[in-house]
Symmetry: C2
């Protein structure tokens, strides 16, 4: 059984991005990412700070636009429009979730599609579905594919089962796995809360991707011998013995499933670290596309 270390793969991706930044700088270009955060949700601030810090590490220029929680929708849109017009910025993301009075959808649709490095804009989502291989890909599903590539776990012809139909993970995951390519070309099944006989279906999976947000939901009896298991979930469960009072688990009961799987991502240290790495990669893509230059090898 192979542990698929997202920590290792994300380091690999970040090293590649670092190299790409250096090459772009030789051409007089510096990729730039703007992160907009509204309000003071502590978890969101942790994510945003981590994104900004990773930019610094990799040589990517970054702006952190911190807006108070009472900022109006119109003010947020104004900030986004300014960033759309800022030539030093190639990627823009607005940290989710925004405060309740903000319509997230309108914000996302205001981000210029070529700067939408989260790949949440409908135009980029559509391009992903109908097969634009050069376009953006949402960061978490892109990270899953990157893990498969790194460990050379070719999936063509295999049956992939995706648990969860979120817009951020489940749906784009299906689109990517059903594309053509060695690390795609899967028969793909999407399951969700309304799925009947779930176990019968998950047991058919050569590649099982769990993204439902239910702690340790996938148990050994749901998994085929030798399956590749990718756990996208990150859940807090009570752990009074821990100093912070909780521990992080995935959507997969790791120990028991690991004993059946041929390969599995742990939590933490699996898919988690990939999201930021792929965000950095998308920022490189954005910078190159906006400057009409090829993406360097890195």
């Amino acid at each position: 059984m192979q542990v698929l270390s997202g920590k290792e793969v994300s380091s690999f991706v970040k090293d590649r991005v670092k190299g790409q930044v250096l090459k772009l700088k030789e051409q007089g270009l510096q990729p730039g990412l703007a992160v907009v955060i509204i309000g003071d949700d502590p978890a969101s601030h942790v994510y945003v700070n981590s994104k900004v810090k990773t930019c610094e590490e990799l040589g990517i220029y970054s702006i952190k636009e911190q807006l108070p929680s009472e900022t109006s929708q119109e003010e947020v849109l104004k900030v986004v429009r300014e960033l759309n017009n800022n030539p030093k910025i190639h990627g823009i993301l607005v940290q989710s979730p925004p405060p309740k009075h903000i319509d997230e959808r309108t914000i996302i649709e205001t981000i210029s599609p070529e700067k939408d490095v989260d790949c949440f804009h409908p135009q980029n989502v559509g391009n992903m579905l109908i097969g634009d291989e050069d376009g953006f890909v949402p960061c978490t599903p892109a990270g899953v594919i990157e893990i498969l590539k790194y460990y050379q776990l070719k999936t063509a012809g295999k049956h992939a089962v995706v648990l969860g139909r979120s817009n951020i993970v489940g749906k784009p995951m299906v689109a990517l796995l059903a594309r053509r390519g060695d690390y795609a070309d899967c028969t793909v099944t999407i399951c969700h809360s309304r799925t009947q006989n779930l176990e019968e279906i998950t047991k058919q999976a050569d590649v099982l991707i769990a993204a439902i947000g239910k702690p340790e939901f996938v148990t050994a009896d749901m998994v085929k011998d030798g399956a590749v298991v990718v756990d996208v979930g990150i859940n807090r469960i009570d752990a009074p013995e821990k100093k912070r009072g909780f521990r992080l688990v995935g959507d997969v009961a790791y120990e028991e499933v690991a004993s059946k799987a041929s390969a599995i991502t742990p939590v933490p240290g699996g898919v988690g670290p990939m999201t930021i790495a792929m965000l950095m990669q998308n920022t490189i893509t954005a910078c190159c596309q906006q400057n009409n230059t090829e993406i360097p090898e890195g």
Copy 2:
């Protein structure tokens, strides 16, 4: 075994559209559709004439822009832009396939998304995937759902298997069936040319949708007893005994599969007639959205 008559359902939809047109006319609005055809492909002309004729039958204003096959890309784009700006036109479609020197994708992306009644523009495709229930839906998959609704074949919780991953049918079909709702909420599996053990998968389908363009590919041994079978294929096969030398068959071996299915669409007279009916329905939606008025009941 129930024969799902697309002829009947399309008449029902067209009657509804006719009623909606009358109500919109009372408000001083007439829905308008422009069909652009480049070149002289005979099959394309048949389709386009049929669309124009249906518009006339239902009271929808229509323009047929017939361009010679040597028309340049720029000229086609000019025509599309004029139609984008024509307030009498609410829907625009460019008949596929255009001549080889025309980049279809650029044409589609030039159509204003709010007039893209084929739902081929990436922005509309994206909105469909991430769940905008008010947006356009591509005509053929929309027609399949409409048939299920008409015959009250609720699919929630059922396993739907889609054969084919085309941008026009397979991929949007998966997106629609995986949405929430009585005629959606399916566990959905998408199969294609790289799928292994296809028969094992199709046999699990409560709802089987064939859209691969292979004559009579789906045979009885691939189908579960009592399945609902929807045949999107329209293939010509040689039939020397026929005056025209061919006959039309679907992707499903109708006679033998019909004996196992609980319900099945025939070819012709199944999904085929639905495409134009849903195009007309999308034109109503477009007209109402552009005029900021509610879609009348019809």
